[in-house]
Amino acid sequence: MSDRYTAAEMMTVTASRALSNGSTCFVGIGLPSEAANLARLTHAPEVVLIYESGTLQTKPDVLPLSIGDGELCETALTTVSVPEMFRYWLQGGHVDVGFLGTAQIDRYCNLNTTLIGDYREPKVRLPGGGGAPEIATNAREVFITVKHSTRTFVEAVDFVTTVGFGRDGTARDGVPNIGRGPTRVITDLCVMKPDAETKDLVVISLHPGVTREQVREATGWEIRFAEVLESTPEPDDNELTILRELKARTDRHHAGGQAADQTDRGSKA
């Protein structure tokens, strides 16, 4: 590890670098949103960001707290209805990259954001699928960014909310009109890609200072490593400066965003 940046910053910068300039990205809230906007503010000024609230080609000055913050609409090229967003823009084939987070992920990149435990008797109820199930199948490819831990990287997800390659890696085989699926998973420890044949995740790059052992310990299955294991390039100063400014702007905005006289009203009609 470096004293120049944190593991979280390493993850965000690496995720942001995955997005190429000019590509069209359907952005999930949280880490994907942070990475996508960092990309837009650094190497990919022409990246097109789409949020499921209907905001097309948006350029928020601060990160949204929700998927439908006013900031997203105000800085968008145009805003369409939510049915149009999912029908014309996502299902219609105009999205290059779907950028997702998750609560659980398995070796075949299946994602669970529905619940922990049994569906009818959940131990923990999570928010559910939202846009992810169709983003993952209708976007040309999918990037996933999530913090690395055995809580998240599990042997078998409790529920396949959003398909990666299915329980056995073959879920996309022979399915017409479906995207390539996950092509990259970026964590705070490493970068992984699905094996071209078997589709199970392979670590292709370790972040500086991270060991194979750390990745193994944070992964709930026997994770594979590429024969030639790269070292992920470090963030440069410009990226770190811009990321930190973005986050500081965001914190200031969301702390002071509402009128003082509304903060303790909570419900008055």
Partner: protein
């Protein structure tokens, strides 16, 4: 034809116990004031439909209005879980709530199909997902032209649809602007519709292709200033992010929630 009614009267007239009720607003223009009126009038056994049952439905479920929930993403955006929803689903408190869970794409298409008067929506969806295993509403059909297997879900045609919007003109035509979500679809898909608005104006000042819902497609309009608070109304007031964060602690605790409900819902409202 839209009739201007007090919020109390609109809810009293159109929302019956046991009704299917869709209250929409995709992070924007969420009809909180109307939801609180539903709570005040102690409506029961509602089937609540909403893509993102956030704080509004957490409050209504916690207050005991719901017996069933149809949704696609249930959380406090950017904050965490909906504790009242979880308490109902996981512990049956105050009542058990049955859930029918979809993806956003499916619900958006189901609202579109409902507005289009169709019984079903067809989409390229749910491929490889476990959701069809736990939601009997999700089926698959074969395209008679291409042979492709496509998902089908029932359209959403609720008994009552409620949305918030920026403004109405004096005849009851309504302008929705900004993140328009499924506001138009809900109004058109519902048997009866209530629209709460920030204000009434002489002229909507809408562009030629703006999202305007004509008066003759709406049943009741209730002028309800700040009717979307603590969500926001583009051009009127911002989202109260602090309240969304504060909600987590209120909703975690049954007693804290009851106190909040008493202070902020039951003792409020303009009963007429």
């Amino acid at each position: 034809m839209a009739e201007f009614l007090s919020l109390h009267d609109a809810v009293a007239r159109y929302v019956e116990d046991g009704a299917t009720l869709a209250m929409e607003g995709f992070t924007h223009l969420i009809p909180f004031a109307a939801g609180h009126e539903v709570i005040r009038q102690r409506k029961r056994d509602l089937t609540l439909i909403r893509m993102t049952p956030d704080l509004l439905y957490d409050q209504m479920i916690g207050a005991g209005c719901a017996k069933r929930l149809i949704f696609s993403w249930g959380g406090n955006p950017g904050v965490g879980s909906l504790h009242r929803l979880r308490d109902a689903v996981e512990k049956g408190y105050p009542y058990p709530v049955e859930i029918f869970e979809h993806s956003h794409a499916a619900m958006a298409c189901a609202f579109e199909a409902g507005a289009a008067g169709l019984p079903l929506a067809v989409l390229r969806g749910y491929v490889g997902s476990d959701l069809p295993k736990v939601n009997s509403q999700i089926k698959f059909i074969e395209c008679p032209f291409s042979g492709e297997r496509l998902a089908a879900v029932p359209s959403i045609r609720p008994d009552v649809g409620i949305v918030h919007a920026q403004r109405a003109d004096r005849r009851g035509n309504v302008l929705v602007e900004g993140i328009v979500g499924v506001q138009k679809e809900v109004v058109l898909a519902a048997g009866r519709s209530i629209v709460t608005v920030e204000e009434v104006v002489d002229d909507l000042a809408a562009g030629p292709n703006a999202c305007v819902i004509p008066a003759w497609a709406i049943d009741a309009i209730s002028v309800t200033k700040h009717g979307a608070y603590p969500s926001y109304a583009h051009g009127y007031y911002p989202r109260d992010n602090a309240f969304y964060k504060a909600w987590d602690a209120i909703a975690r605790d049954r007693d804290a929630f009851d106190v909040w409900l008493q202070d902020n819902v039951f003792t409020q409202g303009d009963d007429t």
